[in-house]
Structure formats: structure tokens, C-alpha cells
């Protein structure tokens, strides 16, 4: 089937029909799309790069949002203690969150799926080894594992990605392994073996597509968690260093000045974070319910 036919088949499918009629799913997709746009184009559209020290003016610090007294029309949502425009800071923060969310999820998805496929298909000692690792890791909360890695290696963007990936691959591995084990006994796999395809090909060309559905669901739901985790770790001061943008760091800054009545530094970044994760979860929820055969 050529691309045009595939697209029209998809548009007529039950899944897409359910999507069209589900306002939540559509809202989620729209939100995610807007955030993606922000992440990619945002920094070019805002007036200030809040992380370029040369562009900041301390005289601009602590200006309230535009609807309060004492505000400056240049800064719609106010400024922080360094004179950073909240809007700009948030936009840069969004880019960081989206990037980290995406990277971590991609890494976990790849590593987890590959390990899960191998584990489920080959079985035996390799399976026990991988599953043993999975089980040990599952008994510990991901936050703790991430903390462990960050405490040991220090702060930094790539270190956070590493730390969060450490605990994230596990769910994929387990799910994929289960599906791989179920699929390997099916006839089409037998047929492929008989034809003489090497194992690698069978795994990736034949079994993998059948495993993708739960993987996609896990991925959409995981991005939100990753984004929140990064924000949390940054807030605690063990995540992204202060020289880089992060929504979590912004909230942390705001926390320090909470009692001076400078509420906007904390509230807006958090709100934006929440919105981003809500979008992810809306779509993720829809996909999960859609792909769950047991609910039909």
C-alpha cells in the first residue's frame, strides 16, 4: 500500500474515529504540539536570552506581572532576581524539559526494547540475568536511583539524562519481554525460521512491530514522568546546574523569595510544567485505553 492509501486507511480506522470524538485526546495532542513549537521556535521569538548574562540588567529584577502595580510592560509575567524575563526564562526552560524528556525516553525505549526482545526471545541464562537486573532495579524508586547517580557524578544536563535513563528502561524491558515470549511461539515466527531468516531479522522485522503498541503507550506516559523528575531534581539542587535553564530551577528560585510576596517566579513555571505534563498524559491515557485489548 502506498502512503496515500495508508493515510486514508488510518483516517477511517476505529482508532482515529475514537480520537476525533474524544475532546481530551485532541486537547492533549494540541497541547503537545504547541509545546513542541515553543521548544523549537520559542527562543527565536522572545526578546531576551535569559541565560546570556550580558543581556540582563539587575535594575529589572523583581518586576511583578503586568496586571499588578509596579510592573514593566516589557515583562508580561514579571522578572526574577537576576532581571530575567519570566516569559523568556519559561520558554528556554520548556525547551530544556522537552529535550530531556525526549532524549531520556528515546534512550530508555531503545535500550529497554532491545533488552526485552533478547530476553524474551532467547530465554535461558541471558533472560534470567536481564530479568534479575530488572527486578533489582524495580524494587527501588526511580528517584532514588537518579539521586544516587547524580550524587556520585555531580550536576549537568547529560548527567541528568543518564541518571533518568538508568531507571527508565526497565518498564520497557519487562513489557517487551512478555510480548516477545508470547509472540515467539506463534506460527509466523515458525514460518520465518523455516524460511531461513537469521534471528536478528526475525526479532527486528517480525516481532518488533507487534511489540510496538505497548511500547508507544509506555513512552507517551513516561515523557511526562521524566519531565517532572528532571524538574524535581533541579528543584532540589542536584539536577541541572544554575547556569542552564530549567523550569524546576525557576521554581526553586521563587521559593527563596516566597515570603517577600514575589509569587510569580514560582507559580508560572510550575503552571507551565503542569500543562505540559497534562498534555502528555491526556494523549498517553487515550492511547493506553485505545490499545488495551482487554477493555474492548
Amino acid at each position: 500500500m502506498d502512503a496515500g492509501k495508508r493515510i486514508s486507511k488510518f483516517l477511517r480506522s476505529e482508532g482515529f474515529h475514537n480520537f476525533k470524538h474524544n475532546p481530551f485526546a485532541i486537547a492533549g495532542a494540541v497541547i503537545i504540539f504547541l509545546f513542541l513549537l515553543t521548544a523549537v521556535f520559542g527562543p527565536h521569538l522572545v526578546s531576551q536570552n535569559p541565560y546570556d548574562l550580558a543581556q540582563l540588567d539587575l535594575n529589572d529584577s523583581y518586576k511583578p506581572p503586568i496586571w499588578q502595580e509596579g510592573s514593566d510592560p516589557r515583562f508580561i509575567l514579571g522578572t526574577d532576581d537576576q532581571g530575567r524575563n519570566m516569559v523568556s526564562a519559561i520558554v528556554y526552560g520548556v525547551r530544556m524539559s522537552v529535550t530531556i524528556g525526549f532524549c531520556v525516553t528515546m534512550i530508555c525505549m531503545t535500550v529497554g526494547t532491545v533488552l526485552g526482545l533478547i530476553s524474551g526471545y532467547k530465554g535461558g541464562r541471558l533472560d534470567s540475568l536481564i530479568m534479575g537486573l530488572v527486578n533489582v532495579q524495580l524494587s527501588f524508586p526511580s528517584l532514588l536511583i537518579a539521586m544516587l547517580v547524580l550524587i556520585a557524578f555531580g550536576r549537568g544536563v547529560w548527567k541528568i539524562i543518564l541518571a533518568l535513563s538508568f531507571s527508565g528502561w526497565v518498564t520497557y524491558a519487562r513489557t517487551v519481554r512478555g510480548t516477545a515470549m508470547a509472540e515467539k511461539n506463534k506460527e509466523y515466527v515458525e514460518a520465518a525460521k523455516v524460511i531461513g531468516f537469521p534471528e536478528r531479522v526475525i526479532l527486528f522485522r517480525h516481532i518488533l512491530p507487534n511489540v510496538m503498541t505497548p511500547v508507544i503507550v509506555i513512552a507517551t506516559l513516561q515523557i511526562g514522568t521524566v519531565i517532572l523528575s528532571e524538574a524535581t531534581l533541579s528543584f532540589l539542587g542536584i539536577g541541572i546546574p544554575i547556569t542552564e535553564p530549567s523550569l524546576g530551577l525557576l521554581v526553586a528560585q521563587g521559593y527563596n523569595v516566597l515570603f517577600s510576596g514575589l509569587w510569580w517566579v514560582s507559580v508560572f513555571p510550575g503552571l507551565v510544567l503542569m500543562l505540559l505534563v497534562v498534555g502528555m498524559n491526556l494523549l498517553g491515557d487515550f492511547l493506553r485505553d485505545e490499545f488495551n485489548p482487554r477493555l474492548k
Partner: protein
């Protein structure tokens, strides 16, 4: 179970050694080369790695994880002192979460298409997507800064019970405990609710539910008699596992509310590089999980008659 603890201890040991010179790790940063050499010798670092490991193991078994740089007291002792505070908010949070999540989850699972159900579900989505630390800050803004009803930090007055200092038994203590506990409870609540709902929805599709209806059992009894027990089995076990995670997660809440628990100690220690305390916390937290997992496994066999103790 002991095997797993041993494995965990070994991992921590490897980690510590991986990070470079343990002497540097465990001594204040200003130590001179002679002090370092002395410390190394005292720690047996001039011995072979295997010897070191044995020493470490022996020390761990004695609960000796070194002294805090800052407090000059055994790290373990410091952590244990703060444990009741952490446990207070964690347990209170779990109770709050369960009391709200389970009944609501049952309702939403049984009647998924009502307006109320959909609203509850949307609200729960919001709660899951919300960064906990931000929510705590918002609570402080509203209840402390704006309304001035509740204190924004610290722990209230304590009462000593069995050697433990507990604060929820005093009115002042309750005022202090409420905001942190609620902050902690929110995400828990939402997850529990969804889990209960999912469990209910799955159980209600089972044949034995239809059979119960065919026997003439009333809808109320079908829900609470037949469906609930089956639906709660996975919920209870997740609940148990969440407990451990919540203890760690409480770190955030403790930081925001300056609540003197284990988590706050950890963050403070990280900020001033009080390494023995950090290591002690990690070891303790890890052990806690192993124990919890074990208990949950046993709990599972009790609750589900299909599972044997084997």
C-alpha cells in the same frame, strides 16, 4: 532477602570505591596530605580490595557507617533520630490518600460514564501531572502567605511516645503537619484512584460478576461483595511498594516545608558535602526497600487465596 541486602551493600561499596579515594570522600575537604594518609591507613586502604571489603562488611553489620562531618555524631544515629518525623507525614499522607482514593475509585470504576466520574478522572489527571514541589509552594502561598491560617515550615510541638518524638498528637503539631501531608498525599491519591478504577473496570468484566448477577445478587453486593476484593488485590500490593517510594519522595516535601525528617537531612548533607550521612541514607533507604518488598510478597500470599507461600 539477606542475599539482596548483601548485594545492595556490595553495590554501595563499589560505588564508594568507584568515586575515587575513600579517604578524600570521608574526610573534610580541607584535610592535609598527612591526614589523608593517616586516614587511609586507619581505614585499611593500604590493604587489598578484598580485605577492605571485609572490613566494610564488618562495619556495616555493626551499623557503623562513620560519623557526620558536621554533627560529629554517628551518621546512622542522626538518621534514626529523624525517621519518626518522616514517617509521620508519610503515614498520614498514605491514610489521607487511601481514604479518598479507594471509595472514589470504586465509584468511578463502576460508573465510568457519569459526569461526576469524568470530572473526578480529569481532576486526578491534573493531580498526577502537577509537580509536587510546586503544589507545596502553592499551598504555602495560599494558606500561609495570603490567609495566614497555617504555618509554612517546621514541625510542631512533640510528645514523646516510647522514646519516639511524635508531633501529630498535639494541636500545634497537627497545624504544622497538615500542609506537608496533603502535599505528599496528592500525587499518591491520584495514582491510587486510577489504579482502583482500572482494577474495578477489569474485574467488572469478568464472568463471575455476570454469574453473581444471574444469581440475583443486588448491584450493591456485586460491587462491594464480589468485585471489590478482587480489584483491591493489586491495589494493596502497589500501596505497600509505594510506601518506600514515598519515604524518598518526602525529601521534596521536607525541603519545602523545612520539615526535619530524613529527606531534609539528605539534602542538607548534599549541599555541604557531609558524605558519611549521604552514604548512610542511601544504605538505609535501600535496605528499607528490600524489607518492604519482602513484606509485600508475604502480604500478597495472604490476600490472594490462589497464591501459595511457596
Amino acid at each position: 532477602m539477606l542475599v539482596v541486602i548483601a548485594i545492595v551493600a556490595t553495590i554501595v561499596f563499589i560505588f564508594v570505591n568507584m568515586l575515587g579515594d575513600p579517604a578524600v570522600l570521608l574526610l573534610p575537604p580541607e584535610a592535609s596530605p598527612e591526614e589523608l594518609a593517616k586516614a587511609r591507613a586507619a581505614m585499611g586502604l593500604d590493604k587489598s580490595p578484598w580485605e577492605q571489603y571485609k572490613l566494610f562488611a564488618v562495619n556495616v553489620l555493626h551499623g557503623d557507617l562513620g560519623n557526620s562531618f558536621v554533627f560529629r555524631e554517628p551518621a546512622m544515629k542522626l538518621i534514626f533520630e529523624r525517621m519518626p518525623a518522616t514517617l509521620e507525614i508519610v503515614i498520614l499522607a498514605m491514610i489521607i490518600a487511601a481514604l479518598i482514593a479507594i471509595p472514589l475509585g470504586v465509584y468511578v470504576g463502576a460508573h465510568p460514564n457519569t459526569f461526576l466520574s469524568r470530572s473526578i478522572l480529569s481532576l486526578s489527571l491534573l493531580c498526577i501531572s502537577m509537580p509536587t514541589f510546586w503544589f507545596g509552594i502553592v499551598l504555602i502561598l495560599v494558606f500561609s502567605v495570603q490567609l495566614g491560617w497555617l504555618p509554612s515550615s517546621g514541625r510542631g510541638d512533640v510528645v514523646v511516645v516510647w522514646g519516639m518524638r511524635l508531633s501529630f498528637l498535639t494541636w500545634d503539631g497537627l497545624k504544622h503537619i497538615i500542609l506537608p501531608a496533603v502535599t505528599l498525599a496528592v500525587q499518591q491519591l491520584a495514582t491510587q484512584l486510577r489504579l482502583t478504577r482500572a482494577g474495578m473496570m477489569e474485574v467488572l468484566r469478568q464472568d463471575y460478576i455476570k454469574f453473581a448477577k444471574a444469581k440475583g445478587v443486588s448491584p450493591h453486593d456485586v460491587l462491594y461483595g464480589h468485585a471489590l476484593k478482587n480489584a483491591l488485590i493489586p491495589v494493596i500490593t502497589v500501596y505497600g511498594l509505594e510506601f518506600g517510594g514515598l519515604v524518598v519522595f518526602a525529601t521534596i516535601t521536607e525541603t519545602i516545608f523545612a520539615w526535619p525528617g530524613m529527606g531534609k537531612l539528605l539534602i542538607d548533607s548534599i549541599n555541604i558535602s557531609d558524605r558519611p550521612v549521604i552514604i548512610a541514607y542511601l544504605m538505609l533507604a535501600s535496605m528499607l526497600f528490600v524489607v518492604i518488598n519482602f513484606i509485600v510478597d508475604i502480604l500478597y500470599t495472604i490476600v490472594d487465596p490462589r497464591i501459595d507461600l511457596r
